[in-house]
Symmetry: D2
Subunit: 387 residues, 4 copies
């Protein structure tokens, strides 16, 4: 890495900009994972992570990426050949589907246009049709990191309830946790999947499962093979502030600091800030005369915004120019959106002026790439921010 | 954690004392895992980790604990119902056996007394008896972290070769890697299992598999279910300096620094230092009139020493006094050795005076716990160190 | 300090935003200041600081603020009752005058309007009038931190030369060093005064004197009392990589890193970047319909811009709103400019998007404070940055 | 600096080993020294430093070395030609005398053998003889860093009081502050001189003056020229949590953390710890059959121990061997003690095992250098530590 003046703008939708307080927390000396100081740390983070998920139930923390937590959600609750209902809301929903199939599950995959979230009516329809209750679980991505589209989890919950269907509800909160209101218990989610490098403002390396009682009961019968991801020994050890393997102590230091930051600002304030930044970003995009990928006003993501370019423009070229000229990383279009969209992350440790800098970089980058924009777009964004 | 004056002595056999250079490296800002700076980092550590394993083949890095890397070694090379040969050399060998069984493998588990390594003659015997070549793999723990006893891998290799047996050789190098001479290619090991928090001087959070060609070939036929641990997508992505999931960037920063430290000192010098410190530790133990757990002079560990107390003394009480009075963590006796032994870690970022401080703490702690010792033991250790 | 989301924008004209690489460098363990590693560090920074001043002569480093380096420049070269020529270019020039008088010097203080630099013609005039050569030194502030106005040092040098006057030329480079082109040797400056917390991107705590041969000769006769500031023992000790007192080791670690950053970017590129950011800032100010304090196009500072408000607006109120709402610190008007101007620092570790964020914050803050602006000002700035 | 395994043992009598908590505190981003967060920091450290000096009066903090604080003590209280009484207790007392003379004071310098502290009877004698009260101040070094000998300040105070003499009492607490009991108010000291890199466990870069009312009154009449060191503007600004120059923010972050550490352990416990470590060190020295430089049992330093070698041995050779072989820095003999003594620092952030490591290094180093010692010395030290 060559030195560049000033800070890099890491405006991908995760990993996010890690606050310097968390970076310093990571640099604390590693301690004995079987000693009293570690037990205190573990008990502390295991307790304080719960409100972030909106749960009073257990949250399992893995040394893993988010994909590990995806796998854990499946292998702890399901058995080979189980049928699950999933939705093509974007790239990550598709990857989770692939994983489920690879693990030996049978996936009913509802196609989608990558511009809408899960349609609760379609959930209702599928469950109503499943008279034998052969569908063991419904898999939903709360906030599609590839599209900037959210799914309305409470409405999905209602659809399941109205169908009187016993399926588990598994929700990926990877890019919503700590950024967009999520309520595990209130919404009746059974397993929530999270990770460290998004709204939690940590480096990658931690995966999370928040687990309902119903999911714990399901786990007793689930027969997919598992060792590392097995909740049982983790939950047992966690009772004593320990882990069944050597835990990732330094990332847990970071987590403790992250929880302090979230508590200090207040979760409702954190969510409101993300909403405000997302609204200002959409104001800029529309002010420039461009299109936001998300097609439903009820489903805009507050953690990222995907911008759809006209066919004649290459979104990757825009991103490359912005990286080279302005030292800002933006998210690429993934899968079938490659080259068609770029994604602006506005989640995690962020503030108004960093967003203004970010939007200014997009503004100039679009111009340099020859994408025609209305230059007053930036003013519109500042007006939204100022309000 | 309350403040105590001076540095904690973290003399468990891992996690080890993390050098401040590595701690600072961990605190570098997280970057885009799909950008050019990350690719440079990834290519760099993937290349430079190889000599630490003594291999020119691929090394897979997981965001995981060492147990994850154990699992990866099994699920990538074996199929349900496969027979494997394992040895009861201590607590961790037993746990690895348990994992193998849990994953659906059939384990021939050779009993042991936890004071000796794997006997190459017994390996020879078992393989010779297996005329049908039904044994798919031999599982060996190079350095038993619970006992301070090593197994002679080259002799085990010879035993396999002499039996003309095609079994894979899977070796746990968790507490030997970067501390005790290990030569993946030269010794014909098929999968080596490692982790970050021992000789690599990093916090916990990274698991490793070094993989032979034979293991890669076996992987093509292995049918244990796998997703996260699957080598194939990792190896494919690593070709381009990327990962099939969000990689643990900050731990990789630490790994890069750790590799620089090992390269700067030189691996042979690192191993010689560990040998010297282990010899001085044994000199102290014997000078005090106590017994080293390891019963074979050829098998002493250079990364830790387990001290066996007479029945009437409680090793945990000794450890507790040392922790309370001298702010030093020692390893407990695990499994059936609980209360009978304590373990002194002398691996990783360490030097003569830190060892002298460590042994002084053990010396005083034994006295305070009422374990009779010859006080000249410490002099014997200093003589060994000075030589 | 309460936690706020995102990074503070420290846009005062120093201390500047310290790069995280330098912050980590500061956190290296302190070493023996009489050992070989320290000598290597000292020799290294003492050598590499020279090009930053544009000198091949000695640079003295003090553990002090910049005011300490002001005092050092005077007490090492002058004697009680000596006459010096100084110029009221702003607040800091006035404070330096006050210090000179307090130390027993007689100051000819040429009045100024705080909107212009030193007029070389006035220098010429004063020196021509001083037939007895009773003026021992000319004191010039290269870049007035209180006004954003530079003085044209090479023209001042010419004026002195043309007058054939032997006076020493003492130049305060506090907020120009490492940001604005400064050439100690080429411009014939005798003592340059610098500090750590501006263009060098370090925390406060180091003061500098770059010293010409003529100044060294003057030092032999200078009779102002001095102990701590005395160049002689420092220069003697520096020959051996040591200091006559315990040196500020950790700030020197930071300095070494800062020098690497400047060398990596290249000094000409560093200066060009500052010029570009200053031009974009002026474009914004003028685009908003506001006035830049600096009244001479040849004298605009590239490290900060002072914005003059109409009488009916309170610049401090603007600053307070910007601090409260946008977490950005701007410089206050100092001395007689209090409440009339605010100062935007755009020096040190900085880039285009951070400037865009900064100007966006000023834009919104002015609007919130009721200062009428043309909102297209921000577009003008982005056009300048993009160019 | 080349990498060496393990931590350097920095056992010079300052700079001391900086705790990693303080190192991380230093790495916090620099903030606006005129903003509210800084004022809070400044008020906090200015208040909490007072108990460390045992005073309720003001403490001035300079960005400087300890020598700067020496100068400040003199120039704020004295006038050209003033007579002061000083004592040759060692190298630093001699340097402070030199400084006083260089600043134009007349020093009555009582000769000493560098093995004893100031004799209170001699103080009494000199003051009794000074009927005209021409002695303006008595200068005492509380703990001579060059010899490991303390002076009994309360007895000196009594001697002054009994003589009914109005002289100020100026005390250098550089290597006693935060390590050895010091009571500014109770002992009636007028100016105490301190610095950051000893018992305060910080890097070098801060100088301190604790000031009595009598000293403040004296300052009003003192005519030695001063600008940087002038207490008045500092005390004025400190009232508002500010400084008359840009303060060394990051070192103040470190100071805040250091104060928390001292408060957490408790000052009496800190002093007791230093006493205990000094006693164990003397036990080792005498156990080896060597001589402690300090010749009076009442005057042993608790922050360092100087070891006197027989003429035929070169203390510098011992130090060099210990540095090369064991990566430990010890203090050299200074001035006339060069080559005759080495100094073991046992102050600051330290604990029993670090001391045991330190003494082990000295033990082995003496043997390697051919200095005959009784090897049971180390046992004696461990017995003292264990007690």
């Amino acid at each position: 890495m060559t030195a560049r003046s000033g800070r890099h703008f890491l405006q991908i939708p995760g990993p996010t900009n890690v606050p310097d307080r968390i970076l310093r927390a990571l640099a604390q000396p590693t301690i004995d994972h079987r000693g009293p100081d570690f037990a205190e740390l573990a008990m502390d983070v295991l307790r304080r992570i719960k409100p972030v998920f909106g749960t009073t139930g257990p949250v399992v923390i893995y040394p893993s990426s988010g994909t590990g937590a995806w796998e854990a959600a499946l292998v702890n609750t399901l058995s080979p050949g189980d049928r699950v209902l999933a939705f093509e809301t974007g790239h990550f929903a598709t990857l989770w589907r692939d994983m489920a199939e690879g693990l030996g599950l049978v996936v009913d995959f509802v196609p989608g246009d990558w511009r809408h979230g899960v349609d609760p009516a379609v959930v209702a329809e599928h469950l109503a049709a499943d008279q034998q209750h052969s569908i063991a679980a419904v898999m939903v991505v709360h906030n599609e990191t590839s599209t900037g589209v959210t799914s309305r989890v409470p409405e999905i919950r209602s659809a399941i309830d109205e169908a009187g269907h016993p399926a588990l509800l598994l929700v990926d909160t990877i890019s919503s946790l700590g950024s967009i209101d999520y309520r595990h218990d209130e919404w009746g989610v059974d397993v929530a999947v999270g990770c460290s490098q998004k709204g939690l403002m940590l480096p990658p390396g931690l995966g999370f499962n928040a687990i309902s009682r119903k999911a714990l009961a399901a786990a007793e019968k689930a027969r997919l093979p598992k060792s590392y991801w097995n909740w049982t020994p983790v939950l047992d050890a966690n009772e004593r502030g320990s882990f069944p393997y050597t835990p990732p102590t330094n990332l847990l230091y970071g987590l403790r600091e992250a929880l302090s930051l979230l508590e200090s600002e207040g979760l409702p304030e954190v969510f409101a800030r993300h909403d405000r930044h997302a609204a200002a970003t959409r104001a800029a995009v529309r002010g420039w005369g461009l299109e936001v990928l998300c097609a439903d006003e009820r489903e805009h993501s507050s953690s990222l915004t995907a911008v759809l370019l006209a066919e004649e423009h290459d979104a990757n070229k825009v991103r490359q120019i912005i990286l080279d000229r302005f030292d800002m990383s933006l998210g690429a279009g993934l899968g079938k959106l490659n080259g068609r969209v770029f994604r602006i992350g506005h989640l995690g440790d962020f503030n108004d002026l960093a967003l203004a800098g970010t939007l200014s970089g997009v503004h100039m980058g679009l111009q340099l790439a020859g994408v025609p924009i209305d230059p007053a777009g930036i003013q519109t964004a500042l007006e939204a921010l100022r309000a």
